[in-house]
């Protein structure tokens, strides 16, 4: 259960990877269905849904996988913060950072975020590694 793509080692604890995590689903995730389904879903959206969706906007965080320090931008020299110890939530919209609606970002996610330049390829997970490959994707 470590990041697929990281930007650096953690400057706080020294042992963690500052991995890119995406909170929420990308628009592309829901557009994988047929356009007819998407159109139906769009049509049924209410004004309240629209308001909620702005809160549920997918966004990226940089999180240390050891000490859980969080950066809002892909630069560990900027200010960091820590989540709640037991219910770790995104400082952006309060969504759980470890729940089902979040994941370590794939390269596609990172491109969508526009953070590609920040990735240190030397810290990329080995996708074809024999062990714990399943865990890595959680």
């Amino acid at each position: 259960m470590y990041p697929l793509h990281s930007i650096d080692f953690c400057p706080i604890c020294g042992g963690g990877l500052c991995g890119i995590r995406i909170i929420g689903s990308l628009p592309a995730d829901s557009n994988n269905d047929d356009s007819a389904d998407s159109a139906t879903a769009t049509a049924s959206a209410t004004a309240a849904d629209a308001q909620n969706s702005s809160l549920a906007q997918p966004h990226g965080l940089v999180i240390c996988d050891e000490c859980e320090a969080i950066w809002l931008e892909p630069d560990v020299s900027t200010v960091h913060q820590y989540p709640d110890l037991e219910k770790a939530a995104s400082p952006v919209n309060g969504m759980p950072i470890w729940g089902d609606g979040s994941r370590w970002a794939s390269m596609e996610d990172i491109e969508w975020l526009g953070w590609t330049e920040a990735v240190n390829p030397e810290l990329d997970a080995e996708l074809d590694a024999d062990s714990d490959s399943e865990e890595k994707l959680v």
């Binding site: 259960m1 470590y2 990281s6 080692f9 706080i12 604890c13 020294g14 042992g15 963690g16 990877l17 996988d65 050891e66 000490c67 859980e68 913060q81 820590y82 110890l85 037991e86 770790a88 470890w98 030397e122 810290l123 990329d124 997970a125 080995e126 590694a129 024999d130 062990s131 714990d132 959680v138």
Partner: protein, 240 residues
């Protein structure tokens, strides 16, 4: 009618000789066993006599030392927010627990997780030195997170510290490190926004360096422990 004396019964003399041999062997055993225990760290049972005077091996009390059995090292459950070790990870033992107020309660019977941790409330475990392991982290519980550092992740980028002795060993080492840290013995301390990060030199091997970097360096031994705390709550800990 002549009655053969009992002593001339060949069966009787064999039995007597056997009895003497048993006594001699028992005597040798009782002399040698403590020395073997000390020298090799074994736990050979002592010889004792019951109410009828029969010599027999005393029952071993595996919980006497607080050492976990091999069953303590089994894998743990990973339900989100909970820590569900196998039943064998809890040892019912006459524990010497030492709560945060520092007073020892001798003879108290507790269920100790991994032979060390006392469940102070639902899913919250306290170590003898007062460290708390609570729900949280990507793994759902800090103990599940800590479990990552009981085995290598050879493909993980960078270094990955691995404790010797699996969960029971890791927890004991962390407690020893925290004990040293509180006394400021060979410890560096950094405080950051409510988090305290201790790096403690343990003076000897506590594990090894794994991960990709560790693998490249042929997994050198680790003799320091880094502990990240929020108050007395463990966020993470690993050897380095």
């Amino acid at each position: 009618m002549n009655k053969k004396p009992y002593s001339k019964n060949p069966l009787g003399s064999k039995s007597k000789a056997g009895g003497i041999a048993v006594i001699v062997l028992a005597g040798i055993y009782s002399l040698v066993a403590p020395q073997l225990n000390t020298r090799f760290g074994w736990d050979l049972p002592a010889i004792s006599a019951d109410a009828q005077g029969n010599v027999r091996l005393a029952e071993k009390d595996s919980s006497r030392t607080g050492e976990p059995s091999s069953g303590d090292r089994s894998s743990t459950g990973k339900t989100s927010g909970t820590y569900q070790p196998s039943d064998s990870s809890k040892t019912k033992s006459p524990a010497k627990s030492k709560p945060s107020d520092g007073k020892e309660i001798e003879g108290q019977t507790d269920d100790l997780l991994h032979g060390l941790l006392k469940e102070v409330s639902s899913n919250r475990y306290q170590s003898p030195e007062g460290l708390l392991y609570t729900p949280g982290s990507a793994e759902g519980h800090r103990l599940n997170h800590l479990e990552r550092h009981t085995k290598d992740m050879p493909s993980r980028p960078g270094s990955h510290g691995v404790f010797d002795g699996e969960m029971a060993g890791a927890l004991k080492t962390i407690d020893r490190a925290y004990q040293r840290a509180k006394k400021n013995q060979k410890t560096t301390k950094k405080v950051d926004d409510g988090r305290t990060i201790y790096t403690v030199d343990m003076g000897g091997r506590v594990g090894y360096v794994g991960g990709r970097d560790g693998k490249r360096r042929r997994n050198p031994m680790a003799r320091r422990v880094r502990i990240v705390l929020d108050g007395n709550r463990v966020i993470t800990a690993y050897p380095m």
